[in-house]
Structure formats: C-alpha cells, structure tokens
C-alpha cells in the first residue's frame, strides 16, 4: 500500500496524541523561546508554532533561531532569525522568556526531576549526563517534562538526585527558588499530568485514548491526585495530523520514542 496515502487517511496513533499533548504545553506562551528536548517534544513545539502558537521562537538545536517549519532530524532551511550561542541561552533562561520541555529519567510527586545519576550520588549505580541546566531552568522559567515510558521506575516516590527543582524543594529553599518556578505539565505515553492542586502535588489531568486511569495508577510509584472524572487527552485534528505526517515528521521518528500502536 502507498505509505503516504494510507498514512494520511489512518487514525491518530498514540505517538501522535503525545505530539499534540506536548504541543499543548506551549499554548498561550506567546513570544517566548520554546526549548524541546527529545523527538516528540521537538515535533510538538514545531506543530504548536505552525498552528496555534505562531509567535514561539525556536532554535535549530545548535546556535541559531530559525523561522519556518521543517522536518525533525534534518537541518533547518531557515530563514535564520538570530544567533543564540550557549552564553545567550543561559542569559535567556535566567531572564525567564523561555519554556523548556526536558526528558528526565525520574520524576516525583512534587515535580522534582532527575537527569544526573541513578543511585547514591557519591557512587552511583548509573551515572547519567549530569544536572546540566535543569536546576537553573526550573527556578527561572516555565518547565514541562516528557517521559516516553510511564512506569514506576520513572515515577518514583523520591528522585535520586534533584536536578530539576520541584514545588516542595523550592518551597524549602525559600522565596528566591519559588518565585519563578512553574511546572506546567508532564506528558507521557499514557497520560498528561500537571500540578494544578492546592499543594502542587501531581495530578492526572487526562488519559490518552485507549488508556485507563488504573493503568496510569499502576505505573506510577506514588499517589496521584485524581479527580472524579478524568477527561481524555484531545485527539489531533486532521490539519495537525497532516502537518505531523507530511511536514514535521515524514519519516516517523516519533515511533522511536513511542511505538506504533493505534490510540
């Protein structure tokens, strides 16, 4: 069968629901820099700009701001809007006009996130990349997270190393840490979660089509806030599907993060 034709006709896949759920993280942000880490968040950010959030600023993943909409995994054709070496990225982050979506290995109930080590920091069982910019990002500007495998190993009662700061740790550290902290949403292969609760504990905001609340609970290693009626994550529109399938991810890179299964 003709791949392109069949693809544009078929139902949205779980990966595509995830793309849109990531895109939605930037809704309402206006003219700020969207910094997605990972493939599905990158597709999501480009989709958001191509549709409902046209003023977003996006980088090529190196040192340039670029306009337009282009495929993931390919060089940006431009036009170039600006130069943003790492020095400028840190200034940008600490100045606050940015919303990052990072991909932690662990996250906990109040949104502490770990990209540094698994196990004891002094002698980790697995050394990861290091805290990178996560401490500074989280206390300075809006942050969302993407975890392509929602499982108890990742959704833990307490992260091994607080890299991205959560609401409880920021509160303990004082007003300077809490002042600009905004954890917007956590998107996974199963659900969308947020911190829209009185004590900023993680809440199940929506389940993806085909996923039950019980399935999310079973794969979460701490107690989630769950309302009486958990809505379903919204489906991609036909226009969004067309953009994802023909423009932003024509080669299906999204399926390397979330396997191909119909949502």
């Amino acid at each position: 069968m003709s791949e392109g034709r069949a693809d544009t006709m078929s139902d949205p896949t779980r990966a595509e629901v995830c793309v849109v759920a990531c895109a939605e993280a930037w809704r309402g942000d206006g003219e700020i820099v969207a910094s997605p880490m990972g493939t599905i968040p990158t597709i999501g950010a480009r989709l958001a700009r191509a549709t409902f959030e046209p003023d977003l600023v996006l980088s090529d993943g190196e040192a340039l701001y670029v306009a337009g909409t282009w495929p993931v995994g390919e060089p940006a054709p431009g036009p170039v809007e600006g130069w943003v070496p790492y020095r400028a990225v840190f200034d940008l982050a600490w100045g606050g006009r940015r919303h990052v979506m990072m991909g932690p290995s662990q996250i906990d109930r109040f949104g502490n996130a770990n990209i540094s080590v698994i196990g004891d920091f002094a002698r980790p069982t697995r050394q990861l990349v290091g805290v990178r910019g996560a401490p500074g990002n989280t206390v300075n500007h809006p942050t969302s997270y993407w975890l392509p495998k929602h499982r108890t190993r990742s959704f833990v009662s307490r992260v091994d190393m607080v890299s991205g700061v959560g609401y409880d740790e920021a509160a303990k550290a004082g007003p300077a840490a809490s002042r600009f902290l905004q954890l917007r949403r956590v998107v996974t292969n199963l659900a969308v979660l947020d911190f829209d609760t009185p004590d900023h504990a993680m809440r199940l905001a929506s389940v993806h089509p085909g996923v039950t609340v019980d399935e999310v609970v079973a794969n979460t290693g701490f107690q989630l806030a769950i309302g009486a009626d958990v809505p379903q994550t919204r489906m991609p529109t036909a226009a969004e599907l067309r953009l994802i399938r023909t423009v932003i991810d024509p080669h299906g890179a999204r399926y390397r993060e979330v396997q191909h299964e119909h949502g």
């Binding site: 540094s116 002698r123 697995r126 050394q127 500074g136 206390v139 550290a173």
Partner: protein
C-alpha cells in the same frame, strides 16, 4: 609551541580548565599530550566530552568540576560513567550556568556571583561547601553565591590564531572559551592553522575575534587537533571514530588495543593512525 612543551609547563595537582563543549571543539591534541605525560591528580574543569573521558580513563583526574559530560550524538560518556560508578574520582557537579558563573567570578576577581540556579536542587546537597547570600537591597532575596573558580591553566582549541595568541572561532559558538581563558593564570591555545594577523578579521569578521593575545601564553599549531570532536567549519565530528571509541571503552581488551593503536605514540602517530583508518577498515 608543541603540545608536549605546553604539558611540560603543567604540574601534577593543578586545576586545569578545558574549553569547548561536549564533543565540540575540544583541545584534544593537548589532552592527548597529557595522557602521554607523568601528570596526575589534576582537577579538571570542563563542559565535558571525550576530554574528560580520556583523562579519567588514564587516571589523570583527582577531581572533576562539570555541569555535564556527554558525547552529544552519543548522550553518555563511557569512561566518565565508569569513573563515577567505580568511585575513582571526586566530583563537583554544578548547574551549567553555575559553572559559567564560577569562571566569570574568577575572571572578574570577585569572590562569588549570585544566582537562583542551584537553589532547591541537590546540587546544594552534594556540594555542602556552597553558601547562600542575602540581597542587601529591599527585596531581601536569599541567593546562591557561586564561588569563583580560578584555574591554574586553561587549554582551548580555536580555528585560527596568529603567532602572538590572538585566536579566532569560525563556527557558530565560542562556547565559554573566553571565560576559561580569563579565569586562568596560564592559557594555552591550540588552533587548526596559524595565520598572519591581518587574515583574522579579513576571514571571520571582528565578531569572531574573542580570544586576545593578552589572554594567551602559548599557541600550538594543531591541524585536526580537535579530532574526533567537531571543529566546524574546518571539520565535523568524526562520528565513526567516536562510535569506535565508545565501543572500545566497553571492554578492557578492546580499550587496550585502542590505546595501543591511537594513544601510545606521539600526536603525529595519532594523526597517522586516524588517517590510515579507512585503509585498515578496508583491509579487514
């Protein structure tokens, strides 16, 4: 200067900053010269890539100061992981921006610079020496005071330089090479090519001239000196070589062979071995 002449000016126990970023524009020929030397117990400061991995694997590192260590196209650095997981090095893990602040404070001869970055994170827990500072103004905010991190020496690699030490980056990012330079007592810059001073501005424009001769104590002509990291526009990262590096790092025997093939000899031997690699691959 030669790489070995630079290393002859370094001492065991020194704090050495290494420019570049991840697996990008690293002064690898200078790092390889350290591998060949008797130096040990170094405190290495780096936005880390294979520079860190190689120095860890060779047992040169006492303490590592970093925000991350990564090979970019391969997220995790195997030798750094092994060093951490075996507990063979001491570490100071900072937020990336904290590391910038530490170098900037040293550059400005300030004891510290304030920031929010690090507050509330376990960076504070695992670095118990970090202190906060209360704003003296009406806001009264309590901020993290990142202590200055003066370097005994900095090693950086640029695309071009003149003989006096004015050096030029021609790629998209200087990274923090200028801060490594101004934070250091002694600065050694290797470069792809030494050119007449007049060629610098003519080729890259004035914006590319950010490393100045007053910062630099020695210049090394090191063509392909950043290999296997990227040094655009002169060359991209040697992804195939990097994959071979990572593959070899996973096995003691394979690593010994890698060292024997590439690292036991001089820099010229290294470059020769790299250049003849396609032939060897074809012969096998």
């Amino acid at each position: 200067m030669t790489e070995d002449a630079v290393v002859a000016q370094l001492r065991s126990g020194m704090t050495v900053g290494i420019g570049g970023w991840g697996s990008r524009r690293k002064p690898m020929s200078l790092v390889r010269a350290i591998l060949r030397s008797e130096l040990r117990d170094l405190t290495v400061v780096s936005y880390g890539g294979p520079d860190v991995g190689l120095l860890c694997a060779a047992g040169k590192v006492k303490r590592l100061v970093y925000g991350f260590v990564s090979l970019d196209s391969i997220p995790l650095e195997p030798h750094f992981q092994a060093a951490r997981q075996s507990g063979s090095i001491e570490v100071t893990e900072y937020d990336e921006g904290m590391l910038q602040w530490a170098l900037y404070a040293a550059s400005l001869r300030l004891p510290f610079l304030p920031t929010r970055a690090g507050l509330g994170s376990d960076v504070m827990r695992v670095n118990p020496g970090l202190r906060t500072v209360l704003s003296p103004y009406d806001d009264g905010e309590e901020l993290l005071a990142v202590p200055a991190l003066p370097l005994d020496a900095a090693l950086i690699h640029l695309n071009r330089a003149d003989v006096t030490g004015n050096a030029q980056f021609l790629g998209p990012d200087l990274y923090f090479d200028d801060l490594f330079a101004t934070a250091a007592a002694r600065v050694y810059a290797s470069c792809e090519r030494i050119v007449p001073t007049a060629d610098l501005a003519a080729v890259g424009g004035i914006g590319s001239l950010r490393i100045h001769r007053w910062m630099v104590d020695g210049v090394v002509a090191a063509p392909n000196g950043a290999h296997f990291t990227s040094c655009v526009p002169d060359y991209d990262r040697d992804e195939e070589f990097q994959r071979a590096y990572v593959h070899a790092a996973k096995d003691a025997g394979a690593w010994r062979e890698f060292v024997a093939t590439y690292l036991d000899g001089t820099e010229a031997d290294y470059q020769q071995a790299v250049a003849s690699r396609p032939e060897r691959a074809a012969a096998i």
